[in-house]
């Protein structure tokens, strides 16, 4: 029983990270049709700036940790807004070229991170409480899992509130449904594009700081490895669906943890198998619109 609970919470923590990456990806794809390969680079930049800041201010401190979250999110958001403004904006409606540009950007950015911070993982320290465990039904769950889960829940709530209750949120939702209709109503959808990119980048940057605490290290490869699972999550959840991304993130991560434990480390393989099954029986994903 305790193993079960431990696996469940580890899976939920990982799912929280997947969600933070996949939420941005899914919104960006849903609104603009861009598959953003640079999303992993947003995350890595967030992780590194958060770490740099924490390193300078002393890491064993809750205030510093919260500040590093904010700074990581801000770095991711700034990078994402820059990407949209300088690179993506020139190529509206040319989806493949947008993919290629983000791909080139991720290559260049990861190389630059390599050169700046080195290719080896940097091990990091958080507040001492992170290393402790909490007893739940006999399972000793590391506390950083809870931080990830709570942060992802807050982001999910904030996003849902933003999308449902604010004017820009409504424009974004309407744009995902039918972009040309929104344009026909005289609303400049391009502002929403920049906004969605910025939000996605902020979520990824936040995810980066959390991921560095979850895994215990930062490395230039951090974003790339999470990005692939985020892709799988967005496809399984249905492209463009935020709720789908949340459900799929949890399902994929928990499945992965359980398979890793009970099926001899085959977690990644089982996830791809799940993807294949979803595609065979429901090509649009769990909550995807039928094309």
């Amino acid at each position: 029983m305790s193993t079960l609970v431990l696996l469940l919470f580890t899976g939920l923590g990982l799912g929280a990270l997947y969600f933070l990456v996949a939420a941005g990806l899914s919104l960006i794809y849903g609104l603009m049709g861009v598959l953003n390969f640079a999303h992993g680079a947003f995350l890595t930049l967030g992780a590194f700036t958060g770490w740099e800041m924490a390193r300078r201010a002393g890491s064993d401190n809750w205030g510093v940790f919260l500040l590093s979250l904010v700074i990581g999110a801000a770095a991711g958001a700034a990078f994402a807004a820059f990407t949209e403004f300088v690179l993506i904006r020139r190529l509206y409606q040319r989806h493949i070229e947008q993919v290629l540009v983000t791909l080139g950007l991720s290559l260049a950015a990861v190389a630059l991170f390599d050169g700046t911070w080195g290719t080896d993982p940097v091990y990091i320290q958080g507040p001492a409480w992170f290393k402790d465990t909490t007893d739940i039904l006999g399972a000793r769950v590391p506390n950083d899992r809870f931080v990830c889960i709570v942060a992802a829940l807050l982001v999910l709530l904030a996003l849902v509130f933003f999308l449902k209750k604010t004017r820009y949120g409504m424009i974004i939702r309407a744009g995902v449904e039918n972009r040309s209709m929104v344009t026909a109503l005289g609303i400049d959808v391009r502002k929403a594009f920049t906004l969605v990119f910025t939000i996605g980048g902020a979520a990824a940057g936040l995810g980066g700081v959390l991921a560095s605490h979850y895994f215990g290290y930062v490395s230039p490869m951090l974003g790339g490895s999470l990005l692939i699972f985020a892709f799988i999550v967005t496809v399984i959840g249905g492209l463009g669906s935020l709720t789908g991304a949340a459900i799929a993130a949890v399902a994929v991560a928990v499945l992965q943890q359980f398979a890793n434990f009970y099926l001899g480390g085959t977690g990644d393989f089982v996830v791809v198998l799940a993807l294949a099954l979803v595609l065979l029986f429901r090509p649009t994903g769990l909550l995807g619109r039928t094309a």
């Binding site: 794809y29 049709g33 598959l35 690179l87 020139r90 190529l91 409606q93 040319r94 989806h95 493949i96 070229e97 993919v99 290629l100 540009v101 791909l103 080139g104 950007l105 991720s106 290559l107 260049a108 950015a109 990861v110 190389a111 630059l112 390599d114 050169g115 700046t116 692939i228 892709f231 799988i232 967005t234 496809v235 492209l239 480390g265 990644d268 393989f269 996830v271 791809v272 993807l275 294949a276 595609l279 065979l280 090509p283 094309a291």
Partner: protein, 408 residues
């Protein structure tokens, strides 16, 4: 031949494109009936130009065949005179990469399939052959045949599942499958793949003329033969009925279906075929490198092939070859540059970007996508047209755009 002219004419005239003018239409006709097509698609003078192209191609191949026997120095491009193993190794590698880029061209440029999992088949060739040679006592050719069999099955399974979606989702799904392959290799099951270390080629059952640094030039000739063979096969496929149907599917899948053809099967055929070709290239890569490295099956390799094809110009065979050679040699030279004293003594702000070849290549790639649509081949074509004073529509990278519009 009648099918070709048919597709080219229907593809040209009846397309109700929202943003397309005459240029777009003539380009569409160009794409479907263009390279290697029958008399229906030929413009006046095109035949003569094609003859010149083939003749210069043949001359180039002849020069490459003779290269290991000559003493040619290209400072800045090759590490030494052309007969030295170092130069031959680099040239052989760039030819293999050019061939691999050609197989990717078959996917992206012909069938319009943006696959992010092509490295899976390259890696399957590399690791499949390495593992079979390691564990069984059989000669090279049967081992290659066995590997090929594995690849054919693998490509059918993965292809038939991932082709259920198209466009961007297809890209993500192929990426996921390739990642699974890469993860399995990294996990090192039963110590068979060597994990991160990779594995060394067991040479017991290899013919002697393929083993050792002295025989680099034999491997060079082998790589050249592979490149020429792949080029001929890709040309042949593109001008075959299947190739034309695939191109038509890329332009307008619905219309192909209405005509009573089966887009799914054609796409699967192209997918499997390019997987087979790239796995053979992978096997020769194994012989050339005399070892298997995890990079050969990583998504980085697929991205590299994609970069090569886009640099050279999407939809152009020569573009893929030029892109492959250009990228490989540039990568090698930039790595040398990164380790040179001149770069090491620079201040940090210049040293860090210059010491990362991928940073320069990635930036170059972005610039090409933004400012040189059509890549090297498209730019050369445009310059040539300007000189001839014609203004026929040429579109390199615009073609994939149509793919996505059709797929969405």
């Amino acid at each position: 031949m009648s099918t070709e002219t048919d597709t080219s004419s229907t593809g040209g005239s009846a397309q109700p494109a929202a943003d397309g003018g005459a240029a777009r239409r003539s380009r569409k006709a160009d794409v479907v009936g263009g390279p290697g097509a029958g008399p229906g698609g030929a413009r006046p003078g095109a035949g003569a130009r094609r003859l010149v192209a083939w003749a210069s191609g043949a001359a180039g191949v002849l020069l490459l065949v003779l290269l290991p026997l000559l003493n040619i120095s290209l400072p800045g491009v090759l590490p030494g005179p052309s007969y030295t193993p170092g130069s031959l190794q680099l040239l052989a590698m760039s030819m293999l990469m050019a061939a691999a880029a050609l197989t990717y061209h078959l996917l992206l440029g012909v069938a319009g399939l943006l696959s992010f999992g092509h490295a899976l088949y390259f890696g399957a060739g590399v690791y499949g052959l390495a593992i079979i040679l390691q564990n069984f006592d059989i000669p090279l050719l049967p081992a290659m045949g066995l590997t090929l069999l594995v690849v054919i099955v693998l490509a059918h399974v993965v292809g038939s599942i991932s082709l259920r979606v198209s466009g961007i989702p297809f890209a993500m799904v192929t990426l996921a499958f390739a990642q699974a392959g890469s993860v399995i290799v990294g996990r090192n099951p039963d110590g068979r793949t060597g994990g991160d270390e990779g594995m060394t080629l067991r040479t017991d059952n290899l013919p002697d003329f393929l083993v050792g640094v002295v025989n680099t030039r034999n491997l060079y000739w082998l790589a050249l033969a592979v490149l020429v063979a792949v080029f001929v096969i890709v040309t042949w496929v593109q001008s075959s009925r299947a190739g034309h149907t695939a191109a038509a599917v890329r332009e307008n899948e619905l219309r192909v279906r209405v005509l009573g053809l089966q887009p799914y099967l054609v796409k699967l055929l192209i997918f499997v075929l390019s997987a087979i070709l790239v796995s053979v290239i992978g096997m020769v890569f194994l012989l050339l490198q005399s070892g298997a490295v995890p990079r050969a099956i990583s998504s980085d390799l697929t991205i590299m092939l994609l970069v090569m094809v886009v640099l050279g110009g999407v939809g152009s065979r020569w573009g893929a070859v030029v892109g492959g050679v250009f990228y490989t040699i540039l990568d090698q030279r930039l790595t040398t540059l990164a380790n040179s004293e001149a770069v090491k003594s620079l201040p940090d702000i210049l040293r860090v970007p210059l010491s990362e070849p991928l940073f320069i290549l990635g930036t170059l790639f972005i610039l090409v996508v933004l400012f040189l649509p059509g890549g090297l081949a498209g730019t050369a074509e445009r310059l040539a047209q300007r000189r001839r004073g014609t203004s026929a529509g040429s579109g390199g990278t615009e073609t994939p755009q149509d793919i996505l519009e059709d797929a969405a």
